[in-house]
């Protein structure tokens, strides 16, 4: 039934989109957790600089991001030359390149909820844990992370949905290659360019419903959290 609703190309593109979003979110959680913790707890003046840089992808047009990444990761850019020295293929026009682009593009959506959540945890709970002789790592994983779980849920889901809908970066950096870098949002663009509106509709409605459900998850998770606060 699914196969008759979507064309084979649509299915491949949907799979690439899902894979891209999942890998991006997983890597972003690893990268952004320490960064957000630092931003939430530091008193260094560098914090402002860090916050501005982490928010930059929010305001830059995706094509600018894609264009710079294309120059950077291409054979004449630093990134491309580094890959060459390591005896590897350049990352532009590959799935790996899309992951790097998506991580930059969706980073603010993980950092900002995490930073806010860590900030809300405050110092008191951690100090109490310290008096109970919990070591720093222990305090972080058994106190801070569980208390900030709402931030983890919000950040993961928002970044996942944002990556699903990514277009400009992927088009510029990926080159619209079927089976490799062609994501669902780009197939929609192709359908529209080819004036195939029913094809565009099928995928558009899929993304619309998927993103709506993901946002429902975010808000219902936040709501149950608010209720806890009210009961307590």
């Amino acid at each position: 039934m699914i196969a008759s609703f979507y064309s084979p190309d649509d299915l491949v593109a949907l799979w690439i989109s899902l894979k891209l979003a999942a890998v991006t979110v997983a890597l972003l959680l690893l990268l952004c957790t320490p960064l957000a913790w630092w931003l939430a707890t530091t008193r260094s003046r560098l914090r402002v600089l860090g916050e501005a840089m982490a928010a930059l992808p929010l305001v830059l047009p995706p094509t600018v991001l894609g264009f710079y990444l294309l120059l950077f990761l291409g054979p004449y850019g630093w990134g491309g030359r580094l890959m060459h020295h390591l005896g590897l293929q350049p990352l532009s026009f590959s799935f790996g390149g899309l992951v790097i682009g998506s991580m930059l593009y969706s980073m603010p959506f993980v950092i900002q909820p995490l930073q806010a959540a860590f900030h809300a945890v405050g110092t008191r709970a951690l100090e109490v844990a310290a008096t109970l002789r919990a070591r720093p790592w222990d305090r972080f994983f058994t106190v801070a992370v569980p208390l900030a779980r709402r931030g983890f849920i919000t950040g993961s889901v928002l970044a996942f949905a944002h990556t699903l809908g990514e277009f400009g970066v992927v088009l510029m950096l990926g080159g619209n290659i079927p089976g490799r870098t062609q994501t669902a949002s780009i197939v929609i663009f192709n359908h529209v360019e080819a004036l195939d509106y029913s094809g565009a509709q099928r995928l558009s409605i899929t993304l619309l419903v998927a993103c709506f459900i993901l946002l429902l998850i975010v808000y219902s998770a936040n709501r149950s959290r608010a209720e806890v606060a009210a009961v307590a």
């Binding site: 999942a22 264009f67 026009f93 983890f152 619209n176 806890v228």
Partner: protein
Amino acid sequence: MTEPARHSMRLGTRMLALLCLLVALSGLSAPAVRAEELNVAVAANFFATLQKLAPKFEQASGNKLLLSSGSSGQFYTQIREGAPFDVLLSADSDRPKQLEAEGLGLAGSRFTYAIGTLVLWSPKPDVVDRDGKVLRGGAFHMIGIADPRNAPYGTAAQQVLTALGLWQQLNQDKKLAVGENINQAWQFAATGNVDMAFVALSQVSDRNAISGSYWLPPQALYTPLQQDAVILTRTSKRALAETFLKWLRADPQAIAGIKAAGYHIAE
């Protein structure tokens, strides 16, 4: 812990599990070995036509075409940055020439695969007359065109309006809606947001029949819309690329398909 809190914990755990599953699965999806594949970068205006032709070539040769649609300018930038395309079917002849001159296009492989025709078109009957007199009447709200700076059909539309002595006036009266590319110009008209638009004949002609009303400006009023193809030097499938371009140039089915889509063929 209260019930809602437990619920949100469970939700979080489940989502994390789902994420892990997806990441694990992503490692398993190694691409299957296929027949030889040719990466073709094709200008947006020819994408739908080539999509229809591709199965015929694939049947005849046993190989697969991977089509990437985009604007010629974007492809040019990407090819300079090492994009893994084997062949470029451009919307103009300038960029393939430039690629050839820069050594990125294979010398001698360039040829004109299609010549576009400009048409002033309205989806409604009786809006555009067969002589284009409607342009002089001024009894219309707006005309759609593609951006003359980066779309060849936009440049051609500007040339026609300039030759008719209407370009300045229409600009002054703000009667031109400029689309980013030729498909946007078509959409302006098809959705009724402009009365008529300068578009490609290939967009409005289906097996030589055109719905609505139209005017074909004399070809002498604009520079021919030559669309050139070129093999890219970095290809590792030169033989297949040559086979494909030879097929596109000479196969009766290919030529019939290109003509039926509203293009001319170079003599």
